[in-house]
Point group: C2
Chain length 372, copies 2
């Protein structure tokens, strides 16, 4: 059980966007070249931060100028995006990055003969530019990301939404659980989080199995499934729960996807390195399944699967990352896959009986048998 830290002050996205716009206007009025600064997001500026234990951006900056022929169009497009987001924030209405794209395509088409946005691939990187330049998340700009992920456990959600406040008792969400939204920061609070730890389970089917068996009640944990790769919202929620000093355990397949999902939750990913501090949980531990499990649970020997080329390639890649190969258990684990050319799914634990999955997790946690 954990005392809750006070909620951080919510960011004033509207005010930040206004300041951004005012700076541009001031530049224009003073006859200066309007500009803003963002951080470089190319691979060369993405580093593993050993101290923080996350992938993050280095210090390399880039300036976006209006009076630079190569940048003029993108500069103007970025300002158009900022203006739209400011409108969304004022109206308190969110949309998707697809919805934003259509608004940009529409509104600019009114006065200008040429569409300045033709493809969404033009607007997406400029949204990221803004996120980084303004130190705001897309969700703060009222741009929802795809949502995925589900929770069960003893906690309440206080959701100020659509002009109404609803309180959701996540412990009373039955077979469905509470679906994790895109934005878990703005106009939403998590209260009475009464749990000893957070368990993230890769597959929704295994989450359902544990939920029906009341695993989270018996164990007093918050049971999450990212339902595959973790969405931004799910990663952010795990981060927020870790901020309440709850240990985070991740239970995935021993294969390319399972490892990737784990390391993404733990250290963030290349694509979202610019917001790792908000979504990475370096405290997370991997509880399984592992190839070493076969030594303890001999029935698993008959339930391994042939590793695919993707699994083997990923294992090789992970062995090259300094933040992974510094951990001997991971080197051993990945080498076992490369040597035996087999992999193991978490579903296999259902072999002897469905509730064996429960016992496996409980034993791992009791005996602190984690991978770093």
């Amino acid at each position: 059980m954990s005392d809750q830290k006070p909620a951080k002050q919510r960011k004033d996205a509207g005010g930040i966007l206004e300041q951004f716009g005012n700076n541009i206007v001031t530049d224009v009025n003073a006859g200066r070249n309007p500009k803003f600064v963002t951080l470089t997001r190319t691979r060369s500026n993405i580093k593993y931060n050993d101290k923080a234990g996350i992938l993050s951006l280095g210090d390399a900056q880039e300036e976006r100028n209006f009076l630079n022929v190569a940048q003029t169009k993108r500069f103007m497009q970025t300002i158009a995006i900022a203006a739209k987001c400011h409108k969304f924030v004022r109206e308190n209405l969110s949309t998707s990055i697809r919805g934003l794209f259509y608004q940009l395509k529409y509104s600019l088409g009114e006065d200008i003969d040429e569409n300045i946005f033709n493809e969404q691939s033009e607007s997406n990187p400029l949204i990221e530019d803004l996120e980084v330049a303004l130190n705001l998340k897309r969700e703060d700009l009222k741009l929802n990301a795809n949502r995925k992920g589900v929770v069960a456990g003893n906690m309440r959600v206080i959701d100020k939404f659509g002009g109404e406040t609803v309180e959701i008792d996540v412990s009373k969400s039955g077979r469905s659980g509470w679906a994790i939204p895109s934005d878990v920061d703005n106009d939403i609070e998590f209260a009475d989080v009464k749990a000893k730890y957070v368990l993230s389970v890769e597959k929704d089917a295994i989450w359902q199995l544990l939920n029906q068996d009341g695993f989270w009640k018996k164990e007093n944990c918050i049971l999450i499934s990212p339902q595959g790769q973790a969405s931004r919202g799910t990663r952010r929620l795990i981060r927020k729960l870790a901020d309440l000093d709850l240990p985070v355990y991740v239970f995935n397949d021993a294969d390319a996807w399972g490892w990737y999902i784990y390391w993404t939750i733990k250290t963030s990913s290349i694509n979202l390195a610019y917001m790792s501090k908000e979504i990475a949980t370096p405290e997370a531990k991997f509880i399984g399944v592992t190839m070493s499990d076969i030594e303890h649970y001999s029935f698993l020997k008959d339930l391994t699967m042939k590793a695919t080329d993707v699994d083997l390639k990923r294992a090789q890649e992970l062995l090259e990352y300094s933040w992974i190969n510094k951990h001997k258990p991971w080197v051993d684990e990945l080498n076992k896959v490369l040597k035996t050319k087999t992999k193991l799914e978490q579903d296999a634990l259902q072999g002897p009986r469905l509730t064996f999955v429960d016992d496996y997790i409980k034993d791992k946690i009791k005996n602190k048998e984690f991978m770093p």
Copy 2:
């Protein structure tokens, strides 16, 4: 608003499985060849049932015999599956078809040298055999399908789950909505469904947009998103809501996926033709978006997209189906796509303002501008 019909008697899956097993044992004890009968699920036995307005199986039957060398292994495998499902029903624990596969692989490995299940592709069709032979759904056999789909609106869910009964007020589910589970029939009830109609919205992003704007409150409707192709659970829920005499409107993209999702909700699909009666909603109407919308909303002209080869191929295919080409509006619509080689997304309605989507839907419903 609609009075609710009394809930149908839940099927006694345990009893049906026991009867199935007893029949086999009786055959064996009497020295007869154990067998059971299922319906043929190959393409040749799948017909469009004009009267019911759904794709369904014809009368062609197949016998599964133990004493038929070509069938012996599959017969034995089917009995093993039935035995496992019987155990799940008795224990009141569900799993996935992947979980079942691992149980089969495990348990048979105990006594027999050779694995009789090596791939899940062996067990999947045998599960369907059982579903058809026993007139039960996979969910009745405690085998969960992938779940997807979300609901907002004035209704309550009474979920008897994990030894507890929870009541969920779907109108108080905030930004997340209520996530539609795999099984919406067993140990679950829907009560106080107070709505004038059901609206199914292809994309989750558009569902979120309508939900935040309180569309379902203002319009008094049940707002569903299948979040892409509709899961079995979502189709079954739409069918159950239609059984309460609520009109069902479907709001999708005007492209290959949008049409496919609509026709799957309405008439069911080839793959699930064996259970169409339970999951098809032939009463459903298509409210848009359509290529004809461009004539009414001229801004949409600038917001069309280039149709892909998949879109054009699908349009051509749909024009060949008798249950589609009998409707002139659909013939015109599909021909417009083929002629202009363009398509339209529902997201495009956000062009002028985010809430334009609301007005579009309201107008269509008010003016009864539906496609059949």
